[in-house]
Amino acid sequence: MSEVKTKPYNGYYLKPVPEDDFLLTKVGPGTPCGEYLRRYWQPFLLSSEVKDLPLATKLLGEELVVFRDKSERLGLLHKYCAHRGVSLEFGIPAEKGIKCCYHGWNFDIDGTILDTPAEPPNSRIKENFSQGAYPVKEENGLIFAYLGPPEYLPPFPHYDIWEHPAENKLLPIRINIPCNWLQIVENGSDPIHNAYLHAIVAGQQFSKAFKVLPQLDFPMTPLGFLSMATRKVGDYIFIRSSEIALPNVGHFPNGSNGISGESFALKPLATRWAVAVDDHHSSFIGFIHKNEYNESVMQISPDECGVDKFPFIGQTADRPYADRQREPGDFDALVSPGHIANRKIEHLGTTDRGVSLARRLIAKAIRAVEKGEIPELPRLNPNGFVNSFAHEIVIKAPDFPDNPEKLALFGRQAAMAFVELSDLSPIDREKKAEVIVRDILKNIMSN
């Protein structure tokens, strides 16, 4: 059969095999992956999307309604009224909670039935059950929900880099992507695509520095790994480390650094969650970090951030099809394999180590939840923040030897400086890491 695989015109023998990739891709209630993802706060809408009327929405395969009551409290309830199943998207927001339009049953934001006006005054029906409800939280213009067991409510993951630098402004974004959530996670775990899709093959989307083929590495962090690329670009060594944090968070440095000066920066451009709407649809949702560092290499206009907006080419479906074919972007790479990529037809190479690692870590965590264990959660530091590790290092090293192993070694050691200093604030970590990285460079150069 291996002979057949390499013969010309062998399509007949290589017909795709449909695969039901159940473990990692199915997210509905009761599925192993769905149960795992439910153990984390998940953002699902921008605050600006929920106005005066209730909004029907979907998260992890569940049909839900989100609304603001007249006391400005946000509620997230099962979509269908517990009485007779009418959708609460037609409910009327009340002073407390929402009233079903059909018979006026009034549900509080926690699902408690406050009133069943059509029932006799002495009816105790409302004491017997409630409307399904989930806790929600608004943070910097995003709405988060927790759909897991109430007894396992995790701490809210407020990342340290949201406040770094002090003037950092978070611009919420949400892009509807018609594919499974795992495809988005895998894209972030695949740093070599930044060279090909974003610089060499599809067009000059990232800076020219990305045309240089890098050394790849995937060192572990407390809740995931760095998806990193180390390049020698002219007189500089350029390390770009994205962070992949389980289950579906990513922090990504910008791709526009032209490499003309040194930097040691924990200042990613984007924080994103790959949130499963259902098995076939996802939200690429999170923040763009608008600050002096990112704006020194690219323009960030609030007009270019929001629902189905992103300040970088190729992230939405909104370009003409032919333009997308001429210069494809991430959106096209994510969606074109189909709603759920058929992983049975893949042939993974050495540069796909990050993709394999992401799958292995997620599968392991899913199995742990299946066994009744609590999965690894974002840990809060003493200041109440979750440390994050995505960074960019640009350091002058004109005499660095033309030696890929040494370059990879330097990249890994330098990146780990940012991880190992995790008890420091981002600003202190940047300062301290710079000193350590310069020492590492000296050591590697002298050996």
């Binding site: 007009d303 270019e304 629902v307 189905d308 907006k309 080419i313 190729g314 992230q315 939405t316 909104d318 370009r319 003409p320 099809y321 032919a322 333009d323 001429r326 210069e327």
Partner: protein
């Protein structure tokens, strides 16, 4: 009748003439974000940017006939994905005109525009000499 065609060497930027003048009235029909000089170039990704590009094309046509935006009497805007994009297109159009001197504007949701553009417009101008 007068038929205005800015870039005869770049056919395809618009389906017909850039501007047709009939008496005191001018008609610009099917103007889109397609570049008038290089119609083959990519369209901007976001609908706001496409609308701004379309209005730049309008400026170019008006300049050519020494007209200005105050001669625009009405606009019909054709938008794909109307529910999603209407709120994003309208403020860009309103920004283009002087406050209090908006032309009449109607917006239609359409299945598709030429070259996959998200927005296209038809305009009527009053040309007083």
């Amino acid at each position: 009748m007068k038929y205005i065609n800015l870039n005869v060497n770049a056919p395809g930027a618009m389906a017909g003439s850039n501007l047709v003048i009939a008496g005191d009235w001018g008609y610009i029909t099917g103007i889109s974000p397609i570049d008038l000089e290089k119609p083959e170039s990519s369209l901007p990704e976001l609908v706001e940017a496409q609308t701004r590009k379309l209005l730049k094309n309008l400026d170019q046509i008006l300049d050519y006939e020494k007209l200005n935006k105050s001669s625009v009497v009405s606009i019909r805007v054709n938008i794909i994905n109307f529910d999603r994009l209407y709120d994003r297109v309208l403020p860009v159009i309103q920004d283009y005109f002087a406050p209090g001197k908006y032309p009449g504007i109607s917006c239609n949701g359409v299945l598709a525009n030429r070259r996959g553009a998200q927005v296209e417009m038809d305009l009527i101008l009053y040309i007083s000499n």
